[in-house]
């Protein structure tokens, strides 16, 4: 069954699309208004601000689906950044790590450190 599924649906999914991410968060978060956003170079993760509430969301691609988390100091276990990579470790049993290829990784890291 998995083999048949791979043959029929095995194409690599397209990366995250800015509109789709915003629409998804609008569905999930009452009153969500998309603010500043940064998309990983590989298209598999994004950080996006909720301009209405001042929150910051991590959105990752899982197959053809998306998974979002509102980031907080409690959720973030470790945040590391070098010139072009932001690595997050989370206290989340099914989403333990996210790596984003971002040109301004240091700026976003500083932003994450300010989270409540």
């Amino acid at each position: 069954m998995v083999g048949v599924c791979a043959v029929l649906f095995g194409r690599a999914p397209r990366g995250l699309d800015a509109d789709a991410v915003a629409r998804r968060l609008e569905c999930e978060v009452q009153g969500f208004r998309p603010g500043q956003a940064a998309f990983s170079a590989d298209g598999r993760a994004a950080l996006i601000e909720d301009a209405a509430h001042g929150d910051l969301y991590l959105v990752v691609q899982r197959g053809t689906a998306m998974v979002s988390r509102r980031l907080s100091r409690k959720l973030l276990k470790e945040t590391r950044a070098d010139d072009a990579t932001l690595s997050l470790r989370l206290r989340d049993f099914t989403l333990r790590r996210a790596v984003l290829g971002l040109g301004d990784a240091q700026t976003w890291r500083a932003r994450l450190e300010e989270l409540a």
Binding site: V4, C27, G31, F93
Partner: protein, 298 residues
Amino acid sequence: MRPFDPVAVATPAFAVLVIAEMIFARVTGRGRFEVRDTAASLLMGLGSVIAGALFAFVFAGFAARIAPYALLHIGWSWSAAAACFVLDDLRYYWWHRASHRVRWLWADHVNHHSSQHYNLSTALRQPWGGVLALPGLFFLVPLILLGFPLAMIAFVHGLNLVYQFWIHTEIIDRLPRWFETTMNTPSHHRVHHAVNARYLDANFAGVFIVWDRVFGTFAAEDASDPPRYGIVGQIASFNPLRIALHGWVSLAHDLMRARSPRDAWLMLFAPPGWSPDGSHQTTDSIKARWASARLPAE
């Protein structure tokens, strides 16, 4: 003689139908599959069968202890089996409703809802909790005390599960009105698997949707608000072990941080999302916010 198990007999048909749905979905564009999601669902189904076999003696022991106190001694007949089927479906409704409203039971049942896809393979995504979800067994007590043979209860429950397989699909839209009114259908069960605020905690039926209509939990699928499937905090893993454990890990994590026996009790028996400081979302709070946002501005 081995007891007749409708699920075991139907399993080859399940496999054929999953493949048929994949081909239909690919050809017509109706229905969505994801390789890793389907693989996870199938492994969850396999694990559930193994867990069920391992813990069968617990269920059998539990039932055997209650059976001597039965009020009646109902023998095998078609009419008795039909009555047992209907009453077991009523039992299923209340067990299923409790499984969404009681955190302890949700820790197990959440697995069935953990996919963001909705296709026949999702039907096979079943929990492994078995004995950990012990309170669920108590819903069987009335049937046993009424005096239905234990093998009959197991048989009709198997039939109920077989019925529920085919409703996990997006390729069937609506069925004739009389059928949608009385029976659980793909449309009704899509609503049950949806996380859209309007659909939360609705359509707990197994076979007869009548129970939801009678007990006030029915919601109709609305074409203007297509279901988004999964759970409120979607999981980000296709690993069957992580899927099977995530509800239990989350519950254990919260219990370890309980500050009083009362908090621990409520973490086990209050609706999922309950927290001492009210900082987490419950389906009730999500629905209330959604409803208030819909009110016309005064």
